[in-house]
Amino acid sequence: MKPVYIAGAGMTKFGRAEWSLIRLASEASRSALHHANLGEIPVDGVVVANMGAARVNKQTALGSALVDQLALYPAMAEAVENGPASGASAFKVGVQAIASGMADVVLVTGVERMRTVNGLEGTDFVASLSHPEAEYIYGVTLPSLAGLFARLVMDRFGVERKHLAMVAIKNHLNATKNPYAHIQQTVTMEGILTLPEAAVNNPPIAEPLHMFDCCPVSDGAAAVVLVSEDVAAKLGGPKVRVAGIGQATDTHAVHDREDPTDLKAVRLASEKAFAMAELKPSDVDVVELHDAFTILEIVESEAAGFFPRGEGHLALERGETALDGKLPINPSGGLKAKGHPVGATGVAHLVELTWQLRGEADGRQVKDAKTAYACNFGGFGNNVVASVLQREAK
């Protein structure tokens, strides 16, 4: 495999978008392309990540549409749909194109515009990734799968609602330092858990999970520019290398897993990514996890190999995953507060980590970050892509 570098990264502010789907994708792409500063070097390929445009925006063939907006023809182009892991899947496709020698410059753009439909329709569109006969027909939605999972994990490992709240508090605080985050508001333990008013502020969504355990519904786009070693050398500037990517799948229905509390696909995808990178979890300086629900940040932090099983909530409690902790997790604010435009999320992870590794993350910069890890969690854990990035010395 040939080495692959991330030469540029950009995104739109997440939230409720005034722009069309393609305008969102195009703005994030332009920002990433300007960041990469390619000059006369042409873009060979475009990969768009998206989950719901066919249903929610009545638009398909997003690769072709984006190429046209950016006047990048005759570049290769396609869209990748892999549920909530669409972003990192598209990234993987772009990396493969360069690693194989088929392309020198690939633009990977994730986009979702899901606030155009009401909450019911939006929840239903995401629920369509569940098993049609064994889950969906019963009224299963993503929050319900997370609720079923959370109750089991909490019972087995002693995770309490206060730990879930700690994830929300930390990620909301980080998001106040990220101008691209959907929600720029701090929350407190009193406000969401311990005061009587918390019952009103923080109503149940899927018991034991409450509103502040769930990510918001967001519109937005994120993009990275991938380049070959030759192009990276021509561009100069900081070099962020794609050190490893791993992907793993698991059973479609959650009940079908031998141990439904074991995020096996996260574990296997991470092992593969670290093996490819020839690194280990203890080498990592900064992490972006897929905290669509607070419980997921805790369990993913264990499955990815950063903490022993059943101890993620203890590391969180000790402050190890805070921005100034030993292993900052979700400096961007995470899906919890930065927002979760589904197809954009996996790419947005890599945007944040690229900025972190280049020292461009402003008020939320993790000092001397050299190695970074991201987990993009698709389905309810049935399709996971893990990525390891590393800054190379010039």
């Binding site: 019911l120 098993h131 006969e133 027909i137 009224g139 109750r151 009940h255």
Partner: protein, 112 residues
């Protein structure tokens, strides 16, 4: 309307796949016989979900994953007023979703 929910029992190794699939995950055999997902068991986990999908007009829905005494697991609706982890249940079949005029039948769990 179907009065039962079925899994597929591998004709070679006997592993039951529910939901059914084309290839047995244990032995890769490709032929199955229908086996009903039914009987008694216990609640493995449950949730009251307020973030409902379309088609539901209730305030919330009580869902559970159960483990039947046969060892088989299933997701369905839990019709219990005071749910607890590990509580004994048995399966029944009822209307689990209404899509316009169409009634969809599936697994519901009631306390034993």
């Amino acid at each position: 309307m179907s009065d039962k929910v079925y899994g597929g029992k591998c004709t070679s190794c006997g592993t039951v796949s529910y939901p059914r699939r084309a290839v047995c995950p244990k032995c890769r055999n490709e032929s199955f016989e229908k086996v009903a997902i039914e009987g008694e068991g216990k609640v493995l986990t449950y949730t009251d979900v307020y973030a409902l999908a379309i088609d539901y007009e209730t305030r919330y829905l009580r869902l559970a994953i159960v483990e039947l005494d046969s060892g088989q697991r299933a997701t369905g609706q839990l019709l219990a007023d005071d749910p607890k982890l590990g509580m004994r249940i048995k399966t029944t079949i009822g209307v689990v979703r209404e899509q316009g005029e169409r009634e969809i039948h599936g697994l519901q769990f009631v306390p034993v």
